[in-house]
């Protein structure tokens, strides 16, 4: 069972947890991304996220389906934020429930690693003296 959301509004960890909780599950692993105040020693003022929304949801659906095939997990919730985020805000939450914890950990890590590689979402870091699209240039 897969729950995917792209949202311009603040993400809520409890919503994701409530969705993945299941009486047949013994463990849940949750990854929560947060906006850091600095990158490579330079102060970050805010982040701006942009998504190719329909394709992003399709790619997220694919990686979640892959995870359900690769590991004995029950439920996955992936919520990703778009728009302007301040330091401390949450760009992404990934929650995975499973009967046994190893599968939940492995699947959660696979999901965030793969999301960062394939899902068409872009992040701009805004500094006091400029801004940069992350990963755009070598």
């Amino acid at each position: 069972m897969i729950d995917i959301q792209l949202s311009e509004k603040p993400l809520d960890v409890k919503t994701c947890l409530d969705w993945v909780m299941d009486p047949a599950c013994g463990g849940i692993d949750v990854f929560i991304g947060t906006v850091r105040n600095a990158t490579k020693g330079k102060e970050v003022l805010r982040l701006e996220f942009e998504a190719y929304e329909r394709m992003a949801i399709k790619e997220l659906q694919k990686i979640c389906e892959n995870a359900l095939v690769k590991w004995p997990i029950h439920r996955i919730s992936v919520h990703h934020r778009t728009g302007v985020l301040q330091v401390g805000e949450i760009p992404v939450i990934i929650a995975v429930s499973a009967a046994h914890r190893a599968a939940a950990f492995d699947a959660c890590r696979y999901l965030i690693d793969t999301l960062k590689e394939t899902v068409p979402i872009w992040k701009k870091e805004v500094f006091a003296d400029g801004e940069v699209w992350v990963a755009a240039h070598p």
Binding site: G33, Y52, M55, V92, K116, P120, I121, W122, A136, H137
Partner: protein
């Protein structure tokens, strides 16, 4: 044929807008489109990489394009 290309992230900055239109022969491929885009927008060659998506899927270089496809340029992603 005319193709409309959607742009996101740094590609939007390079195109100077959220889409651009290119004139390209019938049955052109993804590779052909990339060549044409790079001629029009040389800054694309400075990117770490970029992909073309056709109808919400990553496209292969040899894939042919049609005027009814939804085509997008996908610069290096950085979600999460």
């Amino acid at each position: 044929m005319h193709l409309k290309i959607l742009a996101f992230g740094i590609a939007r900055d390079i195109f100077g807008g959220s889409q651009t239109v290119v004139e390209i022969p019938e049955n052109a491929t993804v590779s052909g489109l990339k060549t044409q885009l790079e001629a029009k927008y040389p800054r694309l060659q400075k990117l770490a990489s970029y992909m073309i998506a056709v109808n919400d899927e990553y496209a292969q270089p040899g894939q042919t394009l049609s005027a009814t496809d939804e085509i997008a340029i996908i610069p290096p992603v950085s979600g999460g």
